[in-house]
């Protein structure tokens, strides 16, 4: 077990076409971004809706949102991914099933499953943050809006949500960063995102330390720059005089 260090490995040919290993990392990073950003959009929309439902004065609606959160928070992400990728296609109506299994390329069907899985998984977490944000606002806000003649949908749209979202930027940021990290599970159903490409490089070139170091650096840099960017956004949109009161 001798190990040959070679930091130039990324510029070497992979032996497939005229690709170099760095190309694999770039493709992988592209998939990681594509998964995380689209899944985040799903999570943010659905999560906000659920978060609102959890706080509305209607037992049925808030009950549905609570059940959703408990289910999606208490089943491991990997189990959920397998359910979406292996089980759900079989339950679809036949035309859709054939489309998913035969007409789509393997990468596309894996991509769709991961988006749905991560989007719905993260929505449960976003929901909890949105709920915390809304509940952190003083009760007087709702009362004052009612007194001014607002209806419930208007109160949410114009009074509660604009304030709540600004409070919860820090916890939402960490969920946003989590979705990038969680997107690595996509490698387990064959999507060639960053981790899968790293593994492949390690196996092809035998330079596993270099490959994993580069992957780590990419994740680390991505994480840090997104965090700095979100801090900037947080300052930009902060309501003067309002305490940051969101969850942890």
């Amino acid at each position: 077990m001798n190990y040959n260090w070679d930091w130039g490995v990324f510029l070497k040919s992979t032996g497939i076409g005229d690709e170099i290993y760095l190309d694999w990392f770039i493709t992988g990073f592209g998939w990681t971004l594509a998964v995380a950003l689209v899944a985040w959009t799903v999570a943010l929309l659905l999560g906000s809706l659920l978060g609102v439902l959890r706080t509305v004065p209607n037992r049925w609606l808030s009950g549905i949102a609570t059940v959703y959160v408990e289910i999606f928070r208490n089943v491991p992400l990997l189990v959920q991914l397998f359910l979406w990728y292996f089980l759900v296609p079989d339950l679809l109506p036949t035309p859709l099933e054939t489309w998913f299994k035969q007409d789509l390329s393997p990468a596309t069907s894996a991509y769709l499953s991961v988006i749905v899985c991560l989007g719905l998984f993260t929505a449960a977490r976003v929901c909890e943050q949105v709920r915390t944000g809304i509940q952190a606002l003083p009760k007087g806000q709702t009362a004052a809006a009612y007194a001014l003649g607002f209806r419930l949908p208007q109160i949410y749209r114009q009074v509660l949500l604009p304030q709540a979202f600004r409070i919860i930027i820090p916890p939402l940021t960490s969920e946003f960063l989590n979705i990038f990290k969680n997107s690595a599970v996509a490698s387990l159903i064959g999507l060639m995102e960053l981790l899968a490409q790293t593994k492949q490089t390690a196996e092809f070139s035998a330079n596993l330390f270099e490959a994993f170091t580069l992957a780590t650096l990419i994740y680390f840099t991505l994480n840090m720059s997104l965090m700095l960017f979100m801090r900037f956004v947080e300052k930009k949109v902060a309501v003067p005089g309002q305490l940051a009161a969101g969850g942890k």
Partner: protein, 221 residues
């Protein structure tokens, strides 16, 4: 859907669950010990120690657990060889456990740090006024109080780790999820076994998190 094959498979699934629980218990134990050390480093007056611990925490919190598991699976044999100078065979279990301990320690560190900081400053001063040195006051005065405060958070993090142990699937370790999947594949009922596995994970995590919530209410001042 036909769940009739599951009762016969239960002993095999229990073997998988035992492996999951072993990973969980050892991972939490190692993670809390290492995390506590890191937290004490982060709070130390020595700048170098504090920065080292902070770098460790930031590093592990910004990369995916799955990457750590995969990397360690490949790397631990090499590293051990460099340390011991001879080939030391380690299984996937050990490399996964090392990955969990090192990764979770970063998260536990932040919990423990918050717990220590929540203990009033006067406690430390009082302990030192009584003639205790730093180690004694930490061990006998600060940490026991800090741990009581952070027990719910530590347990919540352990529930997350319980779910994350399923990621050892990537190195082929026969944990509960992998046991269920492989049995389902052999019998030809992958869906039923997958659903069953999901239900078991759900039941355990849900029950545990409800217990933690009740505990949190009881401990709240």
């Amino acid at each position: 859907m036909d769940f009739s094959a599951i009762p016969a498979a239960l002993p095999g699934l229990w073997d998988g669950m035992q492996l999951t629980l072993q990973l969980l218990v050892l991972g939490v134990f190692g993670g809390v010990v290492l995390g506590t050390l890191l937290a004490m480093m982060r709070l130390a007056h020595n700048k170098l120690l504090a920065n080292l611990a902070a770098a460790y925490v930031n590093y592990f919190r910004s990369i995916p657990l799955l990457l750590v598991i995969t990397w360690f699976y490949f790397a631990v044999p090499f590293v051990l060889r460099w340390i011991t100078g001879e080939d030391t065979p380690v299984g996937a279990f050990t490399s996964c456990l090392v990955a969990f301990v090192m990764f979770e320690a970063a998260y536990f560190c932040e919990i423990v740090r918050a717990g220590i900081q929540a203990v009033p400053k006067g406690q430390m001063s009082a302990a030192q006024a009584l003639g205790m040195n730093y180690a004694q006051s930490m061990r006998l005065i600060i940490l026991p109080q800090a741990f009581r405060k952070m027990t719910p958070l530590l347990l919540q993090q352990s529930i997350i780790l319980f779910q994350d142990t399923s990621l050892v699937y990537t190195v082929g370790l026969m944990d509960f999820l992998n046991a269920a999947r492989s049995r389902g594949d052999i019998i030809g009922q992958p869906h039923e076994f997958l659903i069953f596995a999901g239900l078991v994970y759900f039941t355990i995590s849900f029950a545990a998190s409800q217990l933690v919530k009740r505990m949190q209410k009881r401990l709240a001042v």
